[in-house]
């Protein structure tokens, strides 16, 4: 309801000031009206969950660009289009304005009908493709290669180093992994749209496909955690307090069965003194996580496995797999991420384009001295003839014959190419 009121009021203002811009005789008034329209649009951006756009709309558009306009208007003294010499500069077509209005109206009607017919608001949000990565917890000495339906997910992965996420189409996959010594793992998994997956190879030929929640973290200054249990015992995550003693144990994630993934929890940023313990022996530290830094807007999956070391013996390991949670929709951070990934090319082109326009401004306005000066014929439509200005300064009657005589007689416009 609030949005509707905002929409009606602000939208109405935008249209009203746009019309004012269209009708105003004075260019400065037009520019100011346009600024109001732009600010209105910025407000609408906010209503549309586009804070970043609202921000640059105000700064770049309403600010920088419009200042440039105003500056040029004032520089040229072009607030009003002065009536040029009789006959010049007026389109003599009486049909012009009516035709323009008719065409504009037909455009509005045709496009309006189309938009209403189009009914885009019935459409669903697009499902993003699933993304997938792999990590090798099976062996500290061997490297791991993982494929999903033949698509290479990670190749020659060293121990504990997760691969990059890759994008993949949703669907059922046969995921297989192979260690460099030849032993192989396999399982099948259904990958759903919009989810991130981590393939973990651990134990003796075990392969887990763990879904990770990377959606935007609603709470501020918080991080998200989940625990995956890759051992054959039930595990819990406990907070052992600043002293790291068992006394003030506080269970954070309780009793995760072997092979299960806990529900995710949200924690405020700060430092955690945690330990993973066996549910059967909560006072014994199975794996310590001391001074663990909780970074906001991160989504972390703790993976608990028994890792085989170089000697072949198994020892406990909890590997935190940290990923950036998806930034809030339309936030500057989200835009920034896009700019440096998918839209790198247009971004670079934009830089080159701005350079081109700078060169252009220099070329067009910089005149080398000694070049041709404006001819007498071209000087005749100075908005306020210099002679008048001087005359006013020195106190001579500005419309006097002498002041006019100082200016050359305007020549009739040359008809060229008739």
């Amino acid at each position: 309801m609030t949005e509707l009121i905002v929409f009606i009021v602000v939208g109405g203002l935008a249209v009203a000031f746009a019309t004012l811009m269209l009708l105003s005789e004075n260019a400065v008034h037009s520019a100011l009206s346009l600024i109001v329209t732009m600010v209105c649009i910025a407000v609408l951006f906010l209503a549309l969950n586009a804070p970043f756009l609202a921000m640059i709309q105000i700064t770049v558009y309403a600010g920088a660009i419009m200042v440039l306009f105003l500056f040029v208007i004032m520089l040229l003294g072009a607030e009003r289009l002065l009536p040029a010499s009789p006959g010049e500069g007026k389109v003599r077509y009486r049909w012009f304005a009516p035709l323009a209005l008719t065409l504009a109206m037909s455009l509005l009607i045709a496009a309006g009908v189309t938009i209403i017919q189009g009914q885009v608001s019935g459409a669903d949000a697009l499902g993003l493709n699933p993304i997938i990565r792999a990590v090798n917890l099976a062996s500290t000495t061997q490297t791991l290669s993982v494929t999903a339906n033949g698509v290479n997910v990670g190749e020659a992965l060293a121990s504990r180093k997760p691969s990059r996420f890759i994008e993949i189409a949703p669907g059922n996959y046969d995921i297989s992994a192979a260690l460099s010594d030849g032993s192989s793992f396999a399982r099948s998994a259904a990958l759903a749209a919009g989810t991130a997956y981590t393939v973990v190879a651990f134990g003796d030929g075990e392969l887990a496909v763990i879904p990770e929640d990377l959606s935007t973290i609603a709470a501020e200054r918080s991080a998200r955690f989940a625990l995956f249990n890759g051992t054959d015992e039930t595990l819990s995550l406990v907070d052992r307090g600043s002293e790291f003693v068992a006394d003030d144990d506080r269970i954070v994630i309780a009793e995760i069965a072997p092979g299960a993934l806990s529900a995710s929890i949200t924690l405020a940023e700060g430092v955690g003194n945690w330990a993973v313990v066996l549910a059967s022996a909560p006072d014994t530290v199975w794996f310590p996580l001391r001074d663990y830094e909780i970074v906001r807007d991160r989504s972390t999956t703790l993976i608990a496995v028994r890792e085989r070391d170089a000697l072949g013996s198994r020892r406990p390991l909890v590997l935190p797999l940290e990923s950036e949670a998806r930034p809030a929709f339309g936030s500057p951070r989200a835009i920034g991420y896009s700019l440096f990934t998918d839209f790198l090319l247009p971004f670079q082109l934009l830089a080159v384009l701005l350079l081109a326009s700078m060169v252009g401004v220099i070329v067009l306005t910089h005149r080398e001295t000694g070049k041709r000066m404006p001819t007498a014929a071209n000087r005749r439509r100075v908005s306020r003839p210099l002679a008048n200005v001087i005359a006013a300064q020195v106190g001579i009657e500005s419309a006097s014959a002498r002041a006019d005589a100082a200016l050359p007689e305007p020549e009739p416009p040359q008809a060229v190419g008739k």
Partner: protein, 100 residues
């Protein structure tokens, strides 16, 4: 939530107002401002679509349009200044040496 169509209609109205400005105003500066209005209207449509689809490409597009508009305005105003120096007028109807 206000429907996307409503935003689109608003953007279309602004776009057409901009079009009319290009057609009806004789001052080159106002013609440029009208073009800016058209681009703004486009941005509004893009933001509405972006919310509809939950995809940020629309925001990206709008960002690029705003920046490109800045570049365009710089060149356009430079052209106006150059012509004003030669011709002492920014009335685009006075530019018709080339015809036929």
């Amino acid at each position: 939530m206000v429907q996307t169509e409503a935003y689109l209609m608003l953007s279309m109205v602004l776009f057409v107002l901009g079009t009319m400005g290009v057609l009806l105003r004789r001052s080159a500066i106002l013609v440029f401002m009208s073009v800016e209005l058209m681009l703004n209207a486009t941005n509004l449509a893009l933001a509405a679509f972006a919310r509809q689809w939950g995809s940020e490409n629309g925001h990206m597009f709008a960002f690029f349009i705003i920046t490109v508009a800045a570049a365009e305005v710089a060149v356009g105003l430079a052209l106006i200044v150059a012509i004003f120096r030669t011709k002492r007028s920014i009335n685009i109807d006075e530019l018709h040496q080339l015809e036929g």
